[in-house]
């Protein structure tokens, strides 16, 4: 009986232990963020890689999301005779929920795994040790810059994805009907208010932070050689994707409590 309880409690203990370690790692990030010298060049390089290199994938996905959501929503609205509401309904769904979450999930897959694998490989090939002996704080150089870059760039990518997905919605609306460019956008901006845009944008900063910190934590603490690098990349994606949903759930509760829904 005691053995069975141990079997059940061990995974729970491991999850809590991991959560504690990630929190400690995040606290170390906040402790070092204002310490000089700030690694501007590495930060700029990471912003370029995270932002620019992820843009094509995010853009294509956003366009398809806009198209698909519009095409899928049309029959239901037609059934209720509310086809004219299509741009309004789709734009609210995209901007408030679908685009921020899908963009964050794509970034968790692309950026989170990339950071986990890169730092994991640096760890097992002693590059992090080499950095330390050459007088550079590797945590500051590698972790602080990457976490700041993901925190900053994922909101930027989300804003761009919002625009592209709305364009996709415009195309989708015109596949089975005719809505002029001006009418579409006037309907979109008629329905979208700051209470839709600001909370959905704010939560993407937290998505970015979670993706960066988990990827860095997993990579920085990678073990077991090359096998560990694969595990770091994989678990970075799994944990950060899960965190995206948890943060989204919390954000929805907060906006609901504040009466912004």
């Amino acid at each position: 009986m005691k053995k069975d309880r141990g079997k059940i409690l061990k995974p729970l203990y491991n999850v809590l232990n991991e959560a504690g370690e990630i929190t400690k790692f995040a606290l170390r990030f906040f402790k070092l963020i204002f310490n000089r010298p700030f690694e501007y060049n590495e930060f700029a390089r990471q912003c370029y890689y995270i932002g620019n290199k992820s843009l094509p994938l995010v853009a294509v996905t956003a366009l398809i999301m806009g198209l698909v959501i519009t095409i899928q929503s049309r029959p239901t609205l037609v059934e209720f005779g509310a086809e004219a509401w299509l741009p309004k309904m789709v734009s609210v769904s995209l901007v408030r929920e679908i685009v921020p979450v899908i963009t964050a999930l794509i970034c968790a897959g692309k950026i989170g795994s990339g950071i986990g694998a890169e730092l994991g490989s640096m760890k097992v090939t002693e590059q992090i040790d080499a950095m330390e002996v050459s007088g550079t704080n590797p945590f500051k150089y590698l972790v602080v810059t990457r976490v700041l870059a993901t925190t900053l760039m994922i909101p930027v990518l989300t804003v761009l994805a919002d625009g592209i997905s709305l364009y996709g919605a415009y195309l989708g609306t015109n596949l089975r009907g005719v809505v002029s460019w001006n009418l579409f956008w006037s309907q979109v901006f008629d329905v979208l208010v700051y209470a839709d845009i600001i909370p959905s944008l704010l939560k993407t900063f937290f998505f970015g932070f979670a993706i960066g910190i988990v990827g860095c934590y997993k990579g920085y603490n990678s073990q077991k050689g090359t096998e560990g690098v694969g595990l770091s990349a994989n678990s970075s994606v799994v944990i950060s994707s899960l965190l995206v949903f948890i943060i989204d759930l919390i954000a929805v509760q907060i906006t609901d409590l504040l009466g912004l829904t």
Binding site: S121, M122, T125, E126, Q127, D129, A130, V133, S134, T136
Partner: protein, 246 residues
């Protein structure tokens, strides 16, 4: 508290364990100025742990390590960085930064420790370091484009670029063919003569040790089991010592 004069590294009664595995037990060691000492031991005997304790990458439980007369266990990170600027470390895996070119790899320690240098002076130092390892044409290449021997040379150039007083070599010939191993060993001797550095060589490659080291310390069961020159140890009657030479 200061260490013995002329000694650039002094280790006294060093203990280090990982769980129940006692890797270093009462290990004592001295490296004098201009001297090259090899620490010889089997794989897993704690050689790399020892060298990482010296540079402050691994914390030890008991004992003292003095590097350039500073007790490294008492130094804060800024003081430790000042010591590290005077100690070069050649990693077993070379540890070249994959995302940077050869030149950027060499510039990395320079930009941190020699902030006062002009671009011209920095470029001169990079050229000198690459000339020292006989690879002047590789500056714009990525580490992935280099062979194993070339990577080792570039790693050595990066170690040399700050003109360290001490160089720590962690298994410098591991994974290299005998000819390249000999080239790297000879290069280490050339560098030693040119810059008058002191060095600690961690290895189980007896040929490299024979070429490079003035003195050998045998690390067996976590302690300095035997000590002497290559010739004196080769003539030892102790089978454990002799096993390294056969």
């Amino acid at each position: 508290m200061t260490a013995v004069k002329n000694s650039v590294i002094t280790i006294k009664n060093l203990y280090k364990s990982f769980g129940t595995n006692n890797v270093l037990k009462n290990f004592n060691f001295d490296l004098n100025e201009g001297e090259s000492v090899a620490v010889l031991g089997k794989s897993g005997s704690g050689k790399s742990v020892l060298i990482k304790c010296i540079i402050g990458l691994i914390k030890f439980e008991k004992g003292e390590i003095f590097v350039l007369n500073k007790d490294i266990s008492t130094l804060n990170i800024e003081e430790l960085d000042k010591i590290r600027a005077q100690v070069g470390f050649l990693f077993q895996s070379n540890a070249l930064y994959d995302s940077m070119t050869v030149k950027e790899n060499l510039l990395f320690p320079l930009r941190r420790h020699k902030r006062h240098l002009s671009e011209t002076e920095i470029n001169l130092l990079v050229s000198e370091a690459l000339d020292n390892v006989k690879l002047p044409e590789t500056a714009n290449m990525m580490p992935s484009e280099l062979s194993g021997g070339m990577k080792k040379r570039i790693a050595l150039a990066r170690t040399l670029i700050l003109k360290p007083k001490i160089i720590l070599y962690d298994e410098p010939t591991t994974g290299l063919d005998p000819i390249t191993s000999r080239e790297i060993s000879n290069l280490m001797v050339e560098i030693q003569d040119k810059y008058k550095t002191s060095s600690v060589l961690i290895s189980h490659d007896i040929n490299c040790v024979k070429i490079v080291a003035d003195r050998i310390v045998m690390l067996i069961e976590g302690t300095n089991y035997a000590e002497g020159t290559y010739l004196s140890l080769k003539e030892s009657k102790d089978q454990r010592v002799l096993s390294f030479f056969n």
